[in-house]
Symmetry: C2
Subunit: 151 residues, 2 copies
């Protein structure tokens, strides 16, 4: 039995060998493509994420939502302000813990979410076609386990 063939990252490896860089590059590119599709509805990616999470119909607190959609609290507050004035979502104070604000999406928001889901779904399919189902699935599973350990 032979020791692992994998060589350690050389001290002065090019930036393209760093995991942090590869993740940033891939994320940037894929999200740029997704963004281009969602712009058909004039909606930035973060709003799609918010609508998607809220379309389960349950109330979600701001903190919960911020984690789920990868935004920090003040940024989310301001984005929700915009979406509320577009009548896509609305706030209700939590009766059990009155510090909390529960977010819901309106019928209008839910309808938009559905149209956005179609656009996002078609992008996923496009990736799977070009890149291969196997590779796509492998990549997703590796990312999930990285996220789990890194958290």
């Amino acid at each position: 039995m032979v020791k692992s063939q994998i060589k350690p990252l050389p001290k002065n490896a090019p930036i393209t060998e760093h995991l942090a860089y590869l993740l940033a590059q891939a994320s940037r590119e894929i999200n740029r493509q997704l963004d281009a599709r969602l712009r058909q509805e004039g909606v930035p990616i973060e709003q799609w994420r918010i609508l998607k999470v809220l379309s389960d119909g349950k109330g979600h607190s701001m903190g919960e939502l911020a984690d789920a959609v990868l935004l920090n609290h003040p940024t989310l507050t301001k984005m929700i302000d915009r979406m509320a004035s577009d009548a896509l979502v609305y706030r209700l104070q939590d009766a059990d813990d009155r510090r909390k604000v529960l977010m819901y999406c309106s019928d209008r928001g839910r309808a938009l979410a559905q149209r956005l889901n179609l656009l996002a779904h078609s992008q996923e399919e496009h990736i799977a076609e070009n890149y291969g189902n196997r590779a796509t699935e492998d990549l997703k599973r590796l990312l999930e386990s990285l996220i789990e350990r890194a958290g």
Copy 2:
């Protein structure tokens, strides 16, 4: 022979099943950790990338650099302004094509780059330890090929 076992993404899959989301989440988390380390030197990730690219000693045009460090042009211009006033980098007009500006890093910049490389390298090692060499390598190769096809 059996057809692929991989099932297509359901129409209303949770957001955590979307590749774009997983990439954003993983990139955010890993880069947040890297950022925390680089802050020991008071430098944001983008400046590390810039210094790393420029420490080959050759001149790099702004456009070239913007691509390499994942910033768009105006953002890069302003960041270079700051780094130039910190005497980390300097501009020289390209003699062959006077539209271009070539960027170089100073000795001070190169020294900082070396310290940053150590911090970044130790993070890579930390990831490889916690996550496994095999998984880390697999993930990198999958990301590289995704980037290649998506470009």
